[in-house]
């Protein structure tokens, strides 16, 4: 009997160790590019082109220094309240100490595409790399070049205040193992170039789904109801559905107008987070906004979610 207990205890201990080891292996940060791999791409970032990645990317919506109006001062520090705790977007200005001025291009690329920081640690997906990973390396290089032209801002954001178990960054690795689609975005050759451009902007830099797609228990986006509207992460109100309700009656021109001036067909003016989105998208050439409209209109309609608030 004693021996049986001993054997059982040993087996339990072993499986705990094995499970722990497996979790440790599965949760390892996996940056997409080594320095050599990034260099081999031979990308010379173009800052002017990067400006047109920066605006749809909406970097400033979270990273802009609070209490001032310049979207190009990216000192970070705005509090983002979520069900998982408070996040404080980092200083991504070109300041060499407090910002990312001292980061190599490959470090910034891996943050955007893999959610891995310069020191090899996982970044929390409040930073929308699950969407940004769909950006092309060329766009990423251009964006980096543009960010390097922006002014340095002193000061660091407060540390994130995240609840257990995600207070351990390594736990983000398991989240990534379960939910992070690190596949990039391949153009669909059966669709038009315009449609593909629209999808790229919506799913990639535009990261529309980060607010417009409902999330599951662990904050993962529910791909079966992508862009169908969701409760806002801060708990105030909800994002509109782009696959049901009034939106289905909007024409391409209505969508382009809403993304340019904020005016909706009903005479409402888009508010909340969309105010900044509209301001940003208005920087794009009109064919890009039209491409977004064409892609959104192609999404299969869905009924409202049973769990959505009325």
């Amino acid at each position: 009997m004693k021996r049986l207990v001993l054997v059982l205890a040993l087996m339990l201990a072993l499986s705990a160790v094995a499970g722990g080891a497996l979790a440790w292996v599965l949760s390892a940060p996996k940056p997409r590019f080594s320095a050599a791999e990034w260099a081999a791409l031979g990308l010379k970032g173009d800052a002017a082109a990067g400006r047109l990645v920066f605006y749809p990317g909406g970097c400033e919506s979270c990273h802009q220094s609070p209490g001032q109006d310049d979207p190009l001062r990216l000192g970070g520090g705005l509090e983002l309240k979520t069900p998982f705790g408070s996040f404080y977007p980092q200083n991504i200005s070109s300041d060499p100490v407090d910002g990312i001025g001292g980061w190599a291009d490959v470090d910034i690329a891996n943050a955007l595409l893999s959610g891995v920081g310069r020191d090899g640690q996982h970044l929390y997906p409040a930073f929308p790399y699950p969407s940004y990973q769909r950006m092309t390396p060329g766009d990423v290089a251009d964006l980096i070049a543009f960010l390097r032209t922006l002014p340095g801002v002193h000061g660091r954001a407060p540390p994130d205040n995240v609840m257990f178990p995600f207070s351990f960054r390594r736990a983000v690795g398991l989240w990534k193992f379960l939910f992070f689609d690190n596949a990039g975005l391949r153009p669909d050759p059966s669709q038009s170039e315009q449609w593909n451009r629209g999808r790229y902007l919506v799913e990639g830099p535009g990261h529309c789904g980060e607010c417009h797609s409902p999330r599951g228990f662990l904050g993962e986006t529910d791909s079966s109801r992508a862009l169908a509207g969701a409760a806002m992460p801060d708990g105030h109100g909800k994002s509109g559905s782009l696959r049901s309700g009034d939106f289905l009656s909007w024409t391409d021109a209505d969508i382009v107008e809403a993304l340019t001036s904020g005016f909706t067909p009903a005479g409402d003016v888009l508010g909340g987070g969309m105010t900044a989105v509209v301001r940003n998208l208005a920087e794009l050439p009109e064919p890009d906004r039209l491409a977004i409209a064409v892609y959104l209109k192609s999404l299969p309609p869905l009924g409202p979610s049973a769990t959505a608030k009325p």
Binding site: H236, K238, G262, G272
Partner: protein, 145 residues
């Protein structure tokens, strides 16, 4: 009997009116809806998608002025939730700024009312009226439905 019915009906109507007057959420939502319709008309005209019509401009501006001047009083402390309101708690945390924005909106609308005499002056004043919408919605309105 007829008299009784009349009295009851009159009372019911009176109660209904009182109820509407003490339901600031319903009242401000109705005002905002009219504002939206008026703003949409002005916006479409400014884009040239419907023809310029001075009388319609004046009427729409009067609607906006009505909304801008009546709305600040329709956000009492007991109207933070319910009734399908899209009002954010930030309104009551920054009541002075919120009221100041309505005052600025009213000022811009009244300047437009005084200054618009033809299509050229309409094009000049319309943008200053529109720019009030987004600033307030960004800070104080959340989509709820």
């Amino acid at each position: 009997m007829k008299r009784l019915v009349t009295v009851v009906l009159a009372l019911a109507c009176g109660l209904g009116a009182v109820w509407a007057a003490t339901d600031p959420i319903a009242e401000r939502r109705a005002l905002m809806k009219h504002d939206g319709e008026a703003a949409k008309k002005l916006f479409d005209m400014s884009k040239g998608s419907i023809p310029f019509d001075l009388a319609a401009v004046k009427e729409s501006l009067a609607t906006l002025n009505d909304g801008a001047t009546k709305s600040p009083a329709l956000f009492p402390d007991n109207s933070k939730t319910g009734g399908g309101t899209a009002a954010l708690p930030a309104i009551w945390q920054n009541k002075a700024d919120f009221d100041a924005r309505f005052a600025q909106f009213a000022k811009d609308v009244q300047a437009a009312q005084a200054g618009i005499v033809d299509e050229a002056t309409f094009k000049k004043f319309a943008p200053t009226v529109f720019q009030n919408c987004g600033g307030c919605h960004q800070l104080y309105k959340a989509k709820s439905g």
